[in-house]
């Protein structure tokens, strides 16, 4: 299955109907810089004709798993390259990345096996560009320097893990009644364990306060955190449950992670995917 064609199934019609300009894409995805926006455009979000969305709406278990596999491909390759880059300090950072890398590889293998076991052809691994069109240099390939590269390596890991948590959560409903629900929840929890550790490695809390991306995170990653400020859970504004600290805005947003739609997850991933 063609990755581009597949991912297009997640794009929402609003994006596509109005022949959105590159400025619209820019506004949707955050301000990574023109190069990043250009890299996102060929991916096809804005150029596909308005078709086939009814049948390819990305709301069935297979689509949910294909999206998951795409995100796992991204994470798996990112951590592989990170470990090979020489940017990562030995000790805790390397230990953490090795453990995460092991899991992402396992997730890729698991999802491929699961899809094939269900008689579905897994999406192909896309070509990734972790510079996002030149905005980053996490592996120091372009000579940004070890220190900056390392900071970006951590920032991107945080963004990918926090995105993964939100994306899996957003797909859980599509897996309701499927045998894949439990394993997806099991992966979802592992991504959250990763996210927590990477955030602490960056000096942040392991949980997300309001919609704050956290100190040192590029503005381009804000899309990962938008919506996390929600305090209405199941129709209940949890800040009204009490007046003391556990019900503050901060605690109330930290205590619940928010879901990300397939559209939004694809939009974030697409920043790092180049069309063939």
């Amino acid at each position: 299955m063609d990755i581009i064609k597949f991912l297009d199934g997640f794009t929402n019609e609003a994006l596509l109907e109005g022949k959105p300009s590159r400025r619209d894409m820019f506004g949707t995805l955050g301000s990574l810089g023109k190069k990043a926006v250009l890299s996102a455009i060929p991916f096809g979000l804005a150029t596909m004709p308005n078709k086939t969305f009814a049948q390819d709406s990305g709301s069935d278990p297979v689509s949910a798993l294909q999206l998951a596999l795409t995100l796992e491909y991204l994470e798996d390759e990112f951590y592989d390259l990170a470990l090979q880059s020489g940017v990562l300090p030995s000790g805790r950072p390397e230990t953490v990345y090795m453990q995460i890398s092991k899991h992402e590889q396992a997730h890729v293998d698991f999802l491929i096996a699961g899809l094939e076991g269900a008689g579905v052809t897994p999406v192909e691994k896309p070509t990734f560009d972790f510079t996002a069109g030149g905005a980053f240099d996490p592996f120091n390939d372009n000579g940004v320097g070890q220190e900056t590269a390392y900071a970006q390596l951590l920032a991107l890991a945080q963004a990918f893990e926090d995105t993964g948590v939100r994306a899996y959560k957003g797909q859980a409903g599509n897996l309701l009644g499927s045998d894949f629900l439990t394993p997806a929840l099991q992966i979802h929890a592992v991504e959250a364990m990763h996210a927590s550790e990477v955030r602490r490695l960056r000096g942040l809390k392991g949980w997300i306060t309001n919609n704050e991306r956290g100190a040192g995170m590029p503005e381009a990653t804000q899309a990962v955190y938008n919506g996390e400020e929600n305090v209405v859970q199941g129709g209940v504004d949890v800040t009204t449950l009490g007046s003391d600290a556990p019900f503050s805005m901060e605690a109330s947003t930290e205590a619940y992670d928010e879901a990300l739609s397939g559209d939004d997850a694809v939009a974030i991933a697409s920043l790092f995917i180049v069309s063939e």
């Binding site: 230990t95 929890a189 859970q233 556990p246």
Partner: protein, 247 residues
């Protein structure tokens, strides 16, 4: 079908999971062992249960989504109560980081607990007979002034909470409740990771091989009966209830 939960019984399915359901070696298991529980295996056998709660004197969590919500509420009550005690008498020489993390966990779990009470009460149209009552807790010999005991217990509770939510997801039929469980379980997983790192800084324990399968990268998932049996083993919960309608 298992007929009783908060009671002592062997944890069969979790034998390969090293520590997250046991407080082994800490000397707290035997203390305050919970014996107040309903009779199980009382002849109901495998037949469909004509009366979901054959012993109305003891609260049953219920079935379906209600049962899962009450189950989650029980676990959140335990976590909230535990951290309340932790923050009300922090162990000596606690670091700023540990104090911040444990305080945040206290906030989050109290929020979760009160949310479930409100949400379940709304879900049953205010029929409080169907809402799990406020539970009583007793931590026996657990020494809240002992860092190792507090953090190890916290780790067990968080790990178990994650496995419980992971295992309960498939029992939920309402997508809205599934999403809510998802919103909470990932925060519990963030907690579990943080506590694991406090216990073994700089290690891979934040998502350790004892908890995440190395071949498939999956965190634990356990049925309510297994979780509740293990929770019963700790003796922490003093109020008896049953989960006759959950697997």
């Amino acid at each position: 079908m298992r007929k009783s939960i908060v009671k002592v019984k062997p944890v069969e399915k979790a034998t390969n999971r090293r520590q997250f359901l046991k407080l082994g070696g800490m000397g707290v298991v035997g203390a305050g062992l919970l014996v107040a529980c309903s009779n199980d295996d009382n002849g109901m056998g495998m037949m469909p249960d004509p009366d979901p709660n054959p012993n109305p004197a003891i609260f049953d969590l219920g079935q379906g989504d209600l049962g899962v919500l009450n189950y989650a509420y029980a676990l959140e009550q335990l976590e909230a109560d535990f951290y309340t005690k932790v923050v009300n008498s922090f162990y000596g020489n606690i670091s700023d980081e540990e104090m911040q993390i444990l305080t945040d966990l206290y906030y989050h779990e109290v929020n979760h607990r009160d949310f479930f009470k409100t949400a379940i009460t709304a879900a049953v149209d205010g029929n409080t007979d169907l809402v799990l009552p406020t539970l009583e807790f007793d931590y026996g010999d657990l020494d809240f002034n002992n860092r190792e005991q507090v953090l190890t217990t916290a780790s067990v509770l968080e790990d178990t909470g994650v496995a419980a939510y992971n295992g309960a997801g498939r029992l939920i039929s309402n997508p809205g409740y599934l999403l809510l469980a998802g919103k909470i379980v990932s925060v519990e997983a963030r907690h579990a990771s943080a506590i694991r790192t406090l216990l073994n800084p700089g290690s891979a324990d934040f998502a350790g091989d004892d908890y995440v399968t190395t071949d498939t990268g999956l965190a634990a998932a356990l049925d309510p009966s297994v979780v509740l049996s293990a929770v019963g083993d700790t003796g922490f919960i003093q109020t008896s209830f049953t989960a006759n309608n959950l697997p």
